[in-house]
Amino acid sequence: MSKIGVFICHCGENISSTVDVVRVAEAAGELEGVAFSTDYKYMCSDPGQTMIKQAIKEKGLTGVVVGSCSPRMHEPTFRKACKEAGLNPFMCEMANLREHCSWVHDKSEATTQKAIDLVRTLVEKVKLNKPLFSIKVPVTKTALVIGGGIAGIQASLDIASAGHQVILVEKDPSIGGHMSQLSETFPTLDCSQCILTPRMVEVAQHPNIKLLTYAELEKLEGSIGSFKATIRKKAKSIDENLCNGCGTCTTKCPTKKIPSEFNTGLGMRTAIYVPFPQAVPNKPVIDKENCSYYQKGKCKVCEKVCPTGAIRFDQEDELVEIEVGAVVIATGFDIMQPSGFPEYGYGKYKDVITGLQFERLASASGPTLGEIRRPSDGKIPEKIVFVACAGSRDPAKGIPYCSKICCMYTAKHAMLYQHKVHHGKSYIFYMDIRAAGKNYEEFVRRAIVEDEVNYIRGRVSKIYEENGKLIVKGVDTLLSAKPVEIEADMVVLASAAVANPGAEELAQKMHVSYDSYSFFSEAHPKLKPVETNTAGIFLAGACQAPKDIPETVAQASGAASKVIILFSKDELSRDPLIAVVNRSPAPVFSTCVGCFLCASACPYQAIGEELITNRQGKVIKKVAKVNPGLCQGCGTCVAFCRSKSIDIQGYSNEQMCAEVVALLNND
């Protein structure tokens, strides 16, 4: 026998100015099954909640309907109040008389009638509510951080410092990412490696961080709190325990002419190599595709000269399974190759390079030891032209978005050039100057005024070579679009920041959303920038969108804090509004026929199979089973099920039907 309490809220004047709340309460009181009905100015306030609690106790209420705002506002509030009064919180429902009624209609008889209908509908639903209990999911307090750039490093350090275990997986032989390739960083002109390497070493030495380099994520299964990740440790061909990082093998390797990825193709490396001197771990790997031994069966010089006998040619890839409670994706970004813009001559003319390549030239540990020299003949350029927006803001041949960092790094490049080549002349062809960060505008002004960098507002149409010089055909739109031709010694293209080539594949492995540019999608662009739509997987850094170092570090700490919040509990509490496959006594056991249409429809991979066996262990039936840790209660499976064997707790077919019937019977 239902004894439902109805509480209609005025919501100040938000509801009462359009709806006759007193009448709604009166009408509700006359419904069959309603034992108590009242109205009050602010139901969510302390006195309002006390009213609900008292009514539950005094009237012995079996269910509560609060006619007020959207459940998204105060459902937890009212459910908590019910729980405190001893009523199962899932026996409490809300009729949305504000966002669905008073806020969208004018004051009229029809509006009040609609409010009455809405309340009646929820009363009919609550009559069919059953007590439900939160689902508890255990939390493994180990985090997996994918990507060892500054974002991954920062997130790992924060989570580890909070006392939790971190496994940091990096696909390159060393951590450090793009930040380790930079020469100096804006706006302070700090030496990039000088500020980064202490962090890198901290990660390597931190007792709570396990560093797996030259490794990638193979598979991810499970759900928030209890993921199971399979990591592929690619064969380095080195026994890391024996290798002491002396580097003799790299000096003796006869295959020396492999374009170095770290040096963006401007320098060479050997087949057995450490990507850069400050690498962490400072242990080499063998590039199987270019090593004479792996390709032709000859050489093995490294094995001969290694003092500790650490070379292992027979080493295979290793698959490691780990259990983690949360994942942080920090895989970073890539630079678009400007060969998609043939008018710029990249790839054709050696002295047309990208911004990242310029960083390597400017870097003290780069192929030219920090001197700006032309890749073609090694001479120092007297005139250098920087082309901003070489790929960004370009729907025709590039990407339409702004890469955010180029205005600043181009200004920085020009400044570094002027500092290193005092008599040199630099030009920057730009469209806009985006310098929105702290001290960024002042930095750009300094480049223009103090370092005498020549900014020309206009784009470049064509770059070609004549008599050893690069002819740059641009325009000065601020001078009535006067065509400008510059004979430059070197051209630097600020090419677009794009997602890493494997980003789409990685996102699909983890069931994380991504956009049309393969950047990972945040759960909400404004309010949830470090979470994804997949519970337990967080984002940090440029893999989400192009960003500079301060923002990356901030976002990484943000992601870390979300992980720490998750790990602050031993168990996760989830709403039990999930799908459940029906079970009944023998010989039926369940109306489920095991077609698994629901499993293929489920967007969250939450449906598996369950074997129903008899006492002897013989399998009688294979039915579907919902994983309570993964199910999000979307109801897709319920729509698909042909035998109506699966239903949502708290939103059952019966309850939905009752609501619809109640709405239709409005006399």
């Binding site: 043939p342 008018e343 001559g345 054709k348 064509k462 070609y464 070579e465 004549e466 008599n467």
Partner: protein, 288 residues
Amino acid sequence: MKIGLYPGCSLTGSSREYNESLLAIAKEAGIELCQINDWNCCGATAAHNLNKELSLSLPARNLALAELEGMNELVVPCAACFNRLVMTQHELSEKNDLRKLISDKLQLPLKNEIKIYNVLQFLEKHIVPRLGQLVKNPMAFDVACYYGCLLVRPQNVMKSERFEDPMTMDVIMQKLGANAIDWPFKTECCGAGFSVSKIEIVGELSGKIVRNAVDHGAKAIVVACPMCHSNLDMRRPAIDKYLNMKMDIPVIYITQAIALAMGLTPHQAGIQRHFVPVNLPVNLPVNR
């Protein structure tokens, strides 16, 4: 094999040698090119500069006539005519009511489905596969292949993939034994229709092209457009004036290069019709 041909006004007039060399090599390769009966001028630059409807109806008449004759493929050697015909086909295929309007004006049916090829596409498809046996005189020297504007742009209509650095002509010349140099003025404009009304512009633009070709070591410029040829060859005095230097580099049509390579005489290739003497670093076949 029979293929439709739209010669355009220049091939019968000021670029006669282009037509002659084209027909000669087609004959060697066993291909019959049939002129569209009663074809008219495509309107060239003048029509689209002054009147939109004319810029569509003039080319469209030729497409309609070709259709009536049952032609499925049409070769258009003149780059400007090719551009106008393809642009017209593109515009009328996107706007059905416009196609109906033009068809009504022409009083001719217009399905607008005929395949239109420029000379390079024609050569690639029908001549180059047979070249192997036919090359008797390799053109073994450096050439600058000049494409001009209208063969490759606008790239979405012309369906050109490498519109900044095309290679179709280069590949053909390489098959003839030549070294097609890499140079940055392949698709820079020669001065187009200003040949009569603004000669000094032609002098400047074509002058830059000639100078760049010579600087890169080319011994001849190979073209596939009558207007470009006219500007680079007939207007050489204007070029010499701009560059303040006499430039001797000859300009030949791609069809002429193929004709000479095939062993046809200079006369058959129409070399004598050029203004700049064609002195090539190889022995040309003797006049029969």
